[in-house]
């Protein structure tokens, strides 16, 4: 990869992540929200940004990072994603407990809540699978298929969750971030041939 292409890719990634954060930081809705509720929104956007980084890191797609380093960063970002989700849900709980209880019990009137909760559990399961990888001793390909399926469910669920919400993220920046993370996830699953019988073992 040429240095120009590498620079372009990092710049695009920076725009995709900083864009939604910048739009959210200037949202008029912030004026009418308390600090805890505001932090819940930003934790959600940071989690969405992690969901764009994760497939890129898992596939070693970011220029200048060798696959080995990339996978280490993938684990760190994964831990960050976990914390962002916990913060998002926790701060929403403090803001309006009954709305969060409804969401967690799948009896919320808003369909995006259910998608968010599905994505949360998929992320937690994918994280648990990663944390227990050595202990549960699955065959590498089985582990990868499980982890990738849960991650894909998390990315898809989160994208639907975010797109249906009328919140602080701008429509364009939100759609862009969601579309990019879905595209990166699909590309990785296709490239690693996760579901083909002759899956790549080298990557």
């Amino acid at each position: 990869m040429t240095s120009l292409r590498a620079a372009a890719m990092w710049a695009a990634l920076a725009v995709a992540i900083v864009g939604p954060l910048a739009v959210a930081a200037t949202s008029p809705l912030l004026e009418w929200r308390g600090p805890v509720y505001i932090s819940a929104g930003f934790a959600g956007i940071i989690a969405m940004a992690c969901l764009l980084l994760q497939p890129l890191l898992a596939g070693g797609a970011l220029p200048g990072l060798a696959l080995r380093q990339s996978r280490i960063v993938h684990r760190i970002v994964g831990a960050g994603l976990f914390l962002a989700i916990v913060w998002h849900v926790g701060a929403l709980w403090i803001t309006s407990p009954p709305d969060v209880v409804d969401a967690l019990l799948f009896r919320s009137p808003t369909p995006f809540s259910a998608w968010g909760v599905i994505a949360m559990w998929a992320a937690f399961a994918a994280a648990a699978l990663a944390a227990l990888r050595k202990r549960i001793r699955l065959r590498p390909m089985t582990w990868r298929r499980l982890h990738a399926s849960l991650a894909a469910l998390c990315v898809g669920g989160s994208a639907v969750h975010a797109v249906l919400i009328d919140g602080t993220m701008g429509t364009v920046s939100k759609w862009m971030l969601c579309a990019l993370s879905v595209a990166a996830t699909i590309k990785l699953i296709v490239d690693l041939r996760i579901w083909s019988p002759r899956a790549r073992r080298d990557a």
Binding site: L29, W32, S96, P98, D102, F112
Partner: protein, 160 residues
Amino acid sequence: MSVIDRRTLVATASSALILGTAGLLSPARAKGVAPTPSMRGGSNNYRPGAPIVTRIGGGGFWMSGTVRRAGDGAPLAGQRVQIWAHTTEGHERDPHSHGATLTDANGAFRLEMPQIVPAFGQAHGHLALESRDFQTVFLRPVMRDPSATSLTADFVLQPA
């Protein structure tokens, strides 16, 4: 009991269908006005006994609607409706975001409150009908246009 032949049945059913789909079926002639079921999440952040107020906060936004009796659809006067929402002046949980009003002789209510703003993903309001004589109903109407300056919600109540 009168015997209903097939022709009468078909004619009645089709006219009911036409009137019904056209929304022209008058409440008085209908077999019964169905009671309004509570909406999911309607009771979230409800505060029992919120005071009757002339206006919630600084106002600028109107919540209105009607309260009728199930069956005959008669308007119900003097019914206490509690209203609350996430507005420009506070969160749903804040006591000052809540207020109640009473229906007039025509079963209508109207309360001025601060502008509702999107929260928890949607711009929405909450209404509770607290009555000794009727079953409690909680509504959670959603604003199609988050910048709208009014919202309506109608209740049809069942005796307690």
